[in-house]
C-alpha cells in the first residue's frame, strides 16, 4: 500500500515538489517560532535567584558617559548617598551596583581560569547587595566589612560558573584568574557561591555570573589608593538598589529622589520600583516577538488555505482515478485514507528536508544558546503542528473525493 502511494506521489512529482517546498518553508517558520517560544517558556520555569518585590532602583546620571573614571570626589559623594539612604526609616537595606536587573545591557568578561577561558557576565556591587536583592548563598560567605583591606579581590560566583570552573572541588579560597598574568592583573579569589542571579530577568537564558566587590565604604583610604583610569575597578556604580520595609507608601519614591538630589546636586536621579522596570523590560522584549508570532500565524493560515485549494484542484483532476477505485470496490474510507496518507507522505518529505537543514545548527554550532532539550522540543513541536496543519487541510478535499459517484466519474472515460 505505502509503496504504491509513493509511486502515486512520484507520478505527480512536479506538482508535488512545490507542495513539498511549501511545507518545507512552513516547517522552518514553525520551527523558529516554536523553538523561540519553548526557549522562553523553559527560561521562565527556572529560578531567578533574586526577588524584585519591595526593591527601588535609583539610577544615577553622573553627567558623564565615560565608564572609566570614578574619581575620589565622586567616590566620596557616592558614599554619602549610600549612607544617607541607609539612614532613612523605611529602608531595610541598600547597595550600589554598576548593573541592576532588567536594565538593558551589561558587562561581559572573558577570563582564563584554571587554564581555560570562561565567559561570564559580571557586576560590581557593595556589601548590601545580597540582602537587598535576596540572593541565596550556597557556600562560603558574601562580601563583608574589611574586604577593602584585603591584599586580593574577593569575588562571588553563581553555581553554574563555580561548577564550570572548579567542577566538584570546593571553590572557596581558590584563585579566579590567570596565574600567568600575576603582577599585571589584581589577584581575585572566590569567597562564596550564590545559587543564581539572572540579571536580565525571567526571559533570559541561564548563564555565568560573577560578583566583584565595589570598593566604597572605606572613604579616603580606598579613594587615595584607588586605581587609575582604565582599570576595571574604576567603573562608577551608576545604580543604588534599595529594599524598603513592607507597607512603605508609594510617596517614599519621591522622598528618596529628593533626598538623593539634595545630597548630590550635580547628579540626576531616576527612582523606579524594580517591578516596574521588570514590566517595561518584558514589554520591550515581548512586543517584537508577539508581532512576529502574529505574522507567523497569518502565514500559516495562508499556507493552510493554499493547501486546501491545491489539494482540491488536484483531486478534481483525479476524479476518474477515484471513481475507478470506488467502482472496483474500494470503500469510501479507504479512498479517504489514500488521500490523507498521500498528503502525509508529502509532508514527511518537506519535514525531512527541514530537519536536515535545521540539524546543521547544532552540528555547525551556529547558535550556542539553544539547549538540546529546547532544540529537540522545537523540532517535535513544529513537526506535530505541520502534520496537524497538513491533515486538517486534507480533510475537506478528501471528503469531497470519497463522495465521488463511480458512475459519474467514469462517464468521461
Amino acid at each position: 500500500m505505502i509503496r504504491h502511494l509513493f509511486k502515486l506521489v512520484w507520478n505527480r512529482k512536479r506538482t508535488n515538489a512545490l507542495i513539498i517546498l511549501e511545507i518545507f518553508f512552513s516547517f522552518l517558520v514553525l520551527f523558529v517560532v516554536g523553538t523561540l517560544g519553548l526557549y522562553l517558556w523553559d527560561n521562565v520555569q527556572r529560578p531567578l535567584g533574586f526577588s524584585y518585590e519591595r526593591v527601588l532602583v535609583a539610577t544615577i546620571d553622573m553627567e558623564q558617559s565615560d565608564d572609566n573614571t570614578f574619581d575620589p570626589a565622586q567616590v566620596a559623594t557616592f558614599e554619602r548617598l549610600l549612607r544617607e539612604t541607609q539612614s532613612l526609616a523605611p529602608v531595610e537595606a541598600a547597595a550600589g551596583a554598576i548593573i541592576v536587573p532588567y536594565s538593558l545591557g551589561g558587562y561581559n568578561g572573558s577570563w582564563k581560569v584554571n587554564g581555560r577561558r570562561v565567559e561570564t557576565e559580571f557586576n560590581e556591587v557593595t556589601i548590601g547587595f545580597k540582602e537587598t536583592m535576596g540572593l541565596h548563598l550556597l557556600q562560603g560567605r558574601w562580601f563583608q566589612k574589611g574586604d577593602e583591606a584585603l591584599p586580593w579581590r574577593p569575588v562571588v560566583l553563581n553555581a553554574a560558573l563555580a561548577r564550570e570552573v572548579f567542577g566538584e572541588t570546593d571553590p572557596i579560597g581558590k584563585r579566579f584568574g590567570d596565574p600567568s598574568k600575576e603582577g599585571t592583573e589584581p589577584e581575585r579569589r572566590v569567597v562564596g557561591v550564590v545559587s543564581e542571579f539572572r540579571c536580565n530577568g525571567e526571559l533570559s537564558g541561564p548563564g555565568n555570573y560573577t560578583f566583584m566587590f565595589k570598593r566604597v565604604g572605606l572613604g579616603e583610604a580606598a579613594a587615595a589608593g584607588g586605581p587609575g583610569p582604565g582599570s576595571s575597578l574604576s567603573r562608577p556604580p551608576r545604580n543604588l538598589v534599595v529594599k524598603v520595609r513592607p507597607g512603605t507608601p508609594v510617596e517614599f519614591e519621591e522622598q528618596l529622589a529628593k533626598r538623593l538630589q539634595a545630597v548630590a546636586p550635580a547628579w540626576s536621579f531616576v527612582v523606579k520600583p524594580l517591578a516596574q522596570m521588570r514590566e517595561s523590560s518584558f514589554r520591550l522584549r515581548l512586543t517584537p516577538l508577539v508581532a512576529g508570532a502574529i505574522v507567523a500565524l497569518f502565514l500559516m493560515v495562508m499556507v493552510g488555505l493554499g493547501l486546501i485549494g491545491v489539494l482540491w484542484q488536484n483531486l478534481l483532476q483525479r476524479t476518474r482515478e477515484m471513481g475507478l477505485r470506488r467502482a472496483a470496490g474500494a470503500s469510501r474510507s479507504s479512498v479517504h485514507a489514500q488521500v490523507l496518507l498521500e498528503q502525509m507522505i508529502l509532508t514527511s518529505f518537506g519535514v525531512l528536508l527541514g530537519v536536515v537543514l535545521v540539524a546543521q545548527i547544532p552540528l555547525l554550532d551556529l547558535i550556542s544558546f539553544i539547549r538540546p532539550k529546547v532544540f529537540t522540543g522545537g523540532i517535535v513541536l513544529s513537526m506535530l503542528s505541520i502534520y496537524l496543519l497538513a491533515a486538517l487541510c486534507a480533510l475537506y478535499p478528501s471528503a469531497m473525493a470519497s463522495r465521488v459517484q463511480p458512475a459519474e466519474a467514469l462517464r468521461y472515460e
Binding site: 511549501e22 582604565g230 491545491v310
Partner: protein
C-alpha cells in the same frame, strides 16, 4: 491586446472565487508586513519636518575609540564636536552646525505624581537647523546657552502633563531639581526621528556638571548642514582629517590609538553601526542588499504558496490554453499573458494590502508602543509598496507561466494533467 488580457484576467479571478480569495489573502498579507516595515524605515531615515534641511545634512552621530585589545563605541563626545566640528561652520561649503545631546530621562514630581520626560540639551543653532512650527513662543538662543539661562522649549504632551493643556509660556517647570522657564511650545516629535526627538529641550549650558566637556566619545550628536549635496564628499573628508587632529586628546593612548567616526547621512550611520563592530565606515549599498535580502526571504513562503495556487488554476484552464496554442499562439505570448494576469492579481492584492496596512499603521500609532509615532503612508512609501507588489507579481508569476506555455496542445485540449 493588453486590454483583452486584463478582461480575461478579471473574468478568471471572478470565476474561481475561493482561489481568488486565497491568493488575495496571501498577497495582501505579505504586502501589509512589508509596508509596515517600509513605513518604519522611512520614518527613521527619510528627511521630514522638522528636519526640513535633512536632505543636505550630514551628522556626526557615532564615535568610538579602538586599540589593539579594546574598542569603545558610543556617540560623539562634546569636546570633539565643540573644538573640531563646530568651527566647520566657517567653511564656505557649510551653512550651519549644531550640537545636541541624546535625550535623557528627567524626572519631575507634580502633586505626588511622577512625570518622566526625555530631556535634550541643545545649542541655540539647533533651532535654525530644525524648523519647528511653534505653537507658543519661540526658541531659545545661542546667548541663552552661553549664559546658561534656565529656559526650556517643551512639546505639546509635556504641556498637557504639567499645565493641563493651558498656555505654558512664561510658566516654570522643575525637572531633575532644576527649574526652567518655558519660552516655547512645539508639536510632539516621534521618537523615531532621533535627532529632533525630545519632550523638553534646554540649553547645553544648564547641564549640572561639565564633565561632558572633556569627552571625545560621549552622548552628543552634531549635524552639519551643507550648502548642497555636492559638498558632502568634501565635508566627509574634512571630518576625517579633524578626527586625526583630535587623536592626541585620547586620554589613554596605550589602550586606544584611533578615533572612529565620521560625517554620515542617517542611513550611512546605520550602515556604520550595523555592519561594523568598530564603527568603520559602512557601505549603504551593503545595507540595502541586506534589507532587500530580508524582504525576499520573507516573500519566499507566500511566493511558493501563490505559485502553487496559480499552477492549480492553470489546470482549470487547460482547454483554453490548448485552443490558443492550436490556433498558433506562441509560448512567449502565453507567458506574457499569464504574467500580466498575475501582476493584475498582485496589484489588486497590493491595493487591499495598502488599505489593511493603513489600518495596521493606525493601530500601531494608537497603541503608543512607539512614543508619538506618526507612521503614515506617504508618496515615497506608496511607491516602494507598488514596487514590492510588482516584484512579487513577477517573482510568483514567471514559473507558472512557463509551465503553462509548455502544455502540449493535444493533451491540453483533452483536459489531461501536465
Amino acid at each position: 491586446m493588453i486590454r483583452n488580457y486584463l478582461k480575461i484576467a478579471l473574468k478568471v479571478l471572478l470565476r474561481r472565487k475561493f482561489f481568488t480569495f486565497i491568493s488575495l489573502f496571501g498577497v495582501s498579507l505579505t504586502l501589509v508586513v512589508l509596508l509596515v516595515a517600509t513605513a518604519l524605515l522611512d520614518n527613521v531615515f527619510a528627511a521630514q519636518a522638522p528636519e526640513v534641511l535633512g536632505n543636505r545634512t550630514l551628522g556626526v552621530y557615532l564615535m568610538g575609540m579602538t586599540g589593539p585589545e579594546s574598542t569603545r563605541t558610543g556617540f560623539a563626545g562634546y569636546q570633539f564636536l565643540d573644538r573640531f566640528v563646530r568651527p566647520m561652520a566657517k567653511l564656505p561649503a557649510v551653512e550651519a552646525v549644531t550640537c545636541f545631546s541624546l535625550p535623557e530621562t528627567g524626572v519631575s514630581y507634580l502633586d505626588g505624581k511622577k512625570i518622566e520626560s526625555s530631556v535634550k540639551h541643545t545649542d541655540g543653532e539647533f533651532w535654525r537647523v530644525m524648523r519647528f512650527d511653534f505653537l507658543e513662543g519661540g526658541p531659545f538662543t545661542a546667548e541663552d546657552d552661553r549664559n546658561a539661562r534656565f529656559v526650556a522649549v517643551i512639546n505639546e504632551a509635556t504641556r498637557d502633563k504639567f499645565f493641563a493643556g493651558q498656555p505654558a509660556l512664561g510658566r516654570t517647570l522643575e525637572v531633575d531639581g532644576q527649574r526652567f522657564k518655558v519660552v516655547g511650545v512645539v508639536p510632539d516629535v516621534p521618537i523615531l526621528r532621533i535627532a529632533p526627538y525630545a519632550d523638553v529641550w534646554v540649553p547645553i549650558g544648564t547641564s549640572k556638571s561639565d564633565l561632558y566637556k572633556k569627552e571625545l566619545v560621549g552622548n552628543f550628536m552634531g549635524l552639519i548642514v551643507a550648502r548642497s549635496r555636492a559638498d558632502f564628499p568634501q565635508i566627509k573628508a574634512e571630518v576625517q582629517s579633524r578626527l586625526e587632529q583630535a587623536k592626541p586628546l585620547i586620554y589613554d593612548p596605550k589602550q586606544f590609538e584611533r578615533l572612529m567616526g565620521g560625517a554620515d547621512t542617517p542611513f550611512e550611520a546605520a550602515a556604520r553601526l550595523l555592519l561594523s563592530s568598530r564603527l568603520e565606515e559602512g557601505s549603504p549599498q551593503k545595507l540595502w542588499a541586506v534589507l532587500i535580502g530580508l524582504a525576499v526571504a520573507f516573500m519566499l513562503l507566500p511566493t511558493v504558496n501563490l505559485v502553487n495556487i496559480n499552477l492549480s488554476r492553470i489546470m482549470d484552464r487547460s482547454s483554453e490554453i490548448g485552443v490558443r496554442k492550436a490556433f498558433g499562439a506562441s509560448s512567449w505570448t502565453l507567458i506574457g499573458q499569464f504574467v500580466i494576469e498575475n501582476v493584475v492579481l498582485t496589484l489588486v492584492g497590493g491595493a487591499l494590502g495598502l488599505l489593511l496596512g493603513l489600518l495596521a499603521l493606525q493601530a500601531i500609532n494608537a497603541s503608543e508602543v512607539i512614543p508619538y509615532a506618526r507612521l503614515a503612508i506617504n508618496l515615497r512609501v506608496f511607491l516602494y509598496a507598488l514596487l514590492i507588489a510588482l516584484f512579487f507579481g513577477l517573482f510568483s508569476g514567471v514559473y507558472p507561466a512557463w509551465r503553462m506555455s509548455r502544455l502540449h496542445p493535444v493533451k491540453a485540449l483533452r483536459g489531461r494533467s501536465v
